[in-house]
């Protein structure tokens, strides 16, 4: 054993000499860029807060002249939650609203519950098929809710369900969401603003927050709280970081290319002209946004993607490593797939800021980060095993690599505190900070593993969604979603 060690040690030393410096440099460069994003989001947030301070949205936005919004809510086996979720959607504060629920071949009583609770009657199933989709079985309209449309179709996945919804939608704008997302009552009023502010906007995204730990009643979040569960708690911090400084920061630096599939508002004609959602990708929400952006550069039409921080939708995040792992693996496969499909944009000046800055960021930072991070961690472990580095150095290296990230996360918490401060109690603050601190001790390394697994599966051509188990928003039984959109 000792001979092998002696034989390999020089190579490991060489690898560490070059590798460590590169890894540390990469970490600092990435975190340095995050710092730029943080400053950018701080400026953007300040501007946004000044713009919305004392704004009387009710007068201006509850107008008959507001653009009609069609909410597209794909549902798969949502029997337990669909009634509450749909009632909450129908009660949203927006003047011209249409809600289209698309049952994506549900095997449970989802459609029956809808028929019973919302006085649905079947009508002749014809529609303008603008995009190829799986067949529609039955179309229902409600005798009591004029704006409600329910489509029962054969299972085809979330993208297919959304495409069917697009064919039935009559609104100028469509809001794509998950059936179990809880949109705050004034969420649409807030989210529609960029469409009223500018003519070149094709899509807007709102903030997704973690509902785990909060109290939910009648499809509304009544009291927010930071969850005590480790996985859920760490994800609260992750979501805050992703939305509050990631996406907001990009608003000012050239635009976003991601809008969460759980809550996004799109110009219907633009989406239809682009061909709707793609079926053969697991990152259909990001793919659509990148395609809209790409087409706007190629055809010269509108293509602004705006992130608005104050409209909030709440979502339940996984509390088991198994489910969370599948989700992260899928997200990373989606990212890899989208970046590969549109690789022609990378560093291509034809695509302006998106091609030269945004796209490379996603390719070199978001996509490759787990590879670099894994290489760094591996070199550290090997260094320890072969005695090339001592424990003091390893500890110092580890702390240095993750230290700036933790500091940036802490600054994100400040951003949240300066703007929306949803988590007010001392308990919540302390918990949030605690999750921010310990996220680097194990959790982050797990996400590296999951993302690497995603990359590996992408290279092997896997395109399955995996199961997404949900506990339901307090006091509702667990619902499994075996083969549809999460």
């Amino acid at each position: 054993m000792n001979e092998i060690k002696d034989l390999i040690a020089p190579f490991i030393t060489q690898f560490l000499v070059k590798g460590q410096f590169a890894v540390l440099l990469y970490f600092l460069a990435v975190n340095g860029w995050y710092l730029v994003l943080l400053v950018s989001s701080l400026l953007e947030l300040r501007r946004h807060m000044l713009l919305i301070a004392d704004e009387s949205r009710h007068l201006l936005l509850s107008s008959t002249l507001s653009p009609t919004i069609s909410i597209l809510a794909p549902a798969y086996n949502e029997e337990a939650t669909i009634e509450v979720s749909l009632r909450a959607l129908l009660a949203l504060h927006y003047p011209n609203l249409e809600v289209i629920v698309i049952s994506d071949g549900s095997k449970d009583r989802t459609v029956q519950v809808l028929i019973e609770k919302f006085d649905l009657v079947p009508v002749k199933t014809i529609y303008e098929r603008k995009i190829e989709t799986k067949p529609v079985r039955t179309l229902y309209r409600s005798s009591t809710y004029p704006g409600l449309v329910v489509v029962d179709k054969e299972n085809g996945g979330k993208a297919d369900a959304l495409n069917v919804g697009l064919s039935f939608a009559r609104g100028e704008l469509v809001c794509a969401m998950d059936a179990d997302t809880l949109i705050e009552q004034d969420g649409l009023q807030r989210m529609v603003r960029p469409f009223l502010y500018a003519t070149d906007v094709v899509a807007t995204g709102g903030t997704i927050r973690v509902v785990n730990g909060s109290q939910v009643k009648h499809g509304r979040v009544e009291k927010t709280a930071v969850p005590t569960n480790l996985l859920a708690g760490v994800q609260v911090v992750e979501y805050l970081r992703a939305f509050l400084f990631g996406r907001l920061g990009w608003n000012r630096l050239g635009g976003n290319i991601i809008i969460s599939g759980a809550f996004g508002l799109f110009h219907r004609e633009a989406v239809l002209d682009a061909g709707g959602y793609l079926h053969d990708t697991v990152g259909e929400d990001m793919e659509l946004v990148v395609r809209l952006k790409r087409l706007s550069y190629e055809n010269g039409g509108p293509g602004k993607i705006a992130f608005v921080p104050d409209p909030v939708a709440w979502t339940e995040v996984p509390e088991s490593t198994k489910v969370l792992g599948r989700q992260r693996d899928r997200w990373h496969r989606g990212l890899a797939d989208v970046l590969w499909r549109h690789r022609g944009m990378l560093l291509n000046p034809r695509y302006g800021v998106t091609g030269l800055f945004v796209y490379p960021y996603y390719a070199f930072v978001e996509l490759l980060a787990p590879l670099i991070e894994a290489a760094g961690l591996l070199s550290l472990v090997l260094g320890l095993v072969f005695g090339v580095v001592d424990w003091t150095f390893a500890g110092l290296f580890y702390l240095t690599a993750y230290g700036l990230g933790t500091a940036l996360t802490a600054f994100t918490l400040i951003l949240e505190d300066l703007s929306f401060h949803r988590y007010n109690s001392f308990r919540d603050r302390a918990l949030l900070f605690w999750w921010a601190l310990i996220e680097n001790l194990g959790y982050r390394q797990l996400t590296v593993y999951w993302r690497l697994r995603g990359l590996w599966k992408f290279l092997r051509g896997r395109k399955d969604w995996g199961a997404m188990e949900r506990k339901g928003f307090r006091a509702v039984p667990a619902v499994a979603k075996p083969d549809a959109a999460a």
């Binding site: 410096f21 713009l51 004392d54 009387s56 014809i126 303008e128 309209r141 502010y197 230290g403």
Partner: protein, 347 residues
């Protein structure tokens, strides 16, 4: 190998940053806690004083003095909050109190500030309190769309001929936000804008006309007829479509005759708009024409024609039933779907 010394330096910087972030986070939290309690108390005092002043109807100097002592932010917040619940005499009293405590003068000053965010705030205060002020009117031509939009909101309660004229000119505003706010404010002004809007529509075309037609459709005054007839012949499809909708809202034989002509327009959007308008007018004489449009090549025209027939009542239903048995599959399918629709969804 990366020297430990370098790592120490980097880590020291990181620790300092983290310590700074943590201190700011918790100190800000503490500050929020303390100030929110204080603000709650002060706001409560301000609201109580304002409510007493506005509801009692006589000037209570003590309350005015009390308000004057409060921080300006608290005063403004209380005025803005309470202004949303009052109109008429209540709002007049509120304005009087705001004048007495200096809130209106401060808002005026903000309106002339070089920062657009301050001008926006000034305009918001003046518009919430419905203050008649030429300064707010000048903001209708502010370089920032958000400020123009806010000034338009202010203008909704100030329907003087000059303000209406300025607002109508803003219908051609290149910024969607300002245009939308102007349309909305004009709608809230109500019938007083009918005559100037009719005159505006008779002389304008393009985007401005289209924006004006949408406002006119909601007011639906017969005096828009001439302009609607003229604009229904415009080159721009959006304008023709909006004119068709306005004709449906106005109604009458002349409008119906033109709508029947528009049913043969080259553009599907216009044909669909005309069909929808005929249904809205319950113009049963157009039944056979609408039934013919059930065979239109474009889905949206077939759909609007079907819904219009359903809106015609018994006469339209007869046409729909006839289409069910006709040789055109598309017309039959559309007729079947429209007949299936529950009453609530057919509107």
């Amino acid at each position: 190998m990366v020297s430990q010394h370098l790592l120490h330096i980097i880590m020291l910087i990181e620790v300092l940053l983290l310590a700074l972030a943590v201190s700011v986070y918790f100190v800000h939290g503490l500050w929020l806690r303390i100030t929110s309690r204080r603000m709650q108390k002060l706001s409560h005092t301000a609201r109580e004083s304002l409510a007493r002043l506005v509801l009692r109807g006589h000037v209570n100097l003590e309350d005015i003095e009390l308000l004057k002592l409060l921080p300006h932010d608290v005063q403004t917040m209380a005025f803005l909050e309470i202004s949303r619940t009052f109109s008429g005499t209540g709002k007049e009293r509120l304005r009087f109190v705001a004048q007495q405590v200096g809130a209106i003068d401060r808002a005026r000053l903000l309106c002339t500030h070089r920062w657009w965010t301050r001008r926006l705030r000034g305009a918001r205060i003046l518009s919430n309190l419905d203050v008649q002020d030429s300064l707010a009117q000048t903001l209708l031509s502010d370089p920032y769309p958000a400020v123009r939009a806010q000034a338009a909101e202010w203008a909704a309660a100030q329907a003087s001929p000059e303000v209406v004229a300025a607002m109508l000119e803003l219908l051609a505003d290149p910024a969607t936000q300002a245009r939308f706010a102007v349309q909305n404010a004009l709608l809230r002004m109500g019938n007083v804008i009918a005559a100037p809007l009719a005159a505006f529509l008779e002389t304008h075309s393009g985007r401005a006309a289209q924006a004006g037609l949408r406002v006119a459709e909601s007011i639906a005054e017969p005096r828009f007829l001439e302009a609607a007839l003229r604009l229904s012949r415009a080159d721009d499809v959006g304008v023709r479509e909006a004119a068709a909708k306005l004709l449906g809202a106005i109604g009458g034989a002349e409008a119906a005759a033109r709508l029947i002509e528009l049913m043969n327009d080259n553009d599907a959007r216009v044909r669909a708009g005309a069909a929808s308008s005929l249904g809205r007018m319950r113009y049963w004489q157009a039944g056979s024409l609408l039934a013919e449009r059930l065979r239109d090549q474009r889905w949206r025209v077939r759909r609007e024609a079907g819904l219009a027939l359903r809106a015609l009542g018994a006469a339209g239903t007869l046409f729909l039933r006839k289409a069910l048995k006709g040789d055109d599959r598309f017309a039959a399918d559309m007729a079947e779907q429209v007949l299936d629709l529950p009453e609530a969804a057919a509107g």
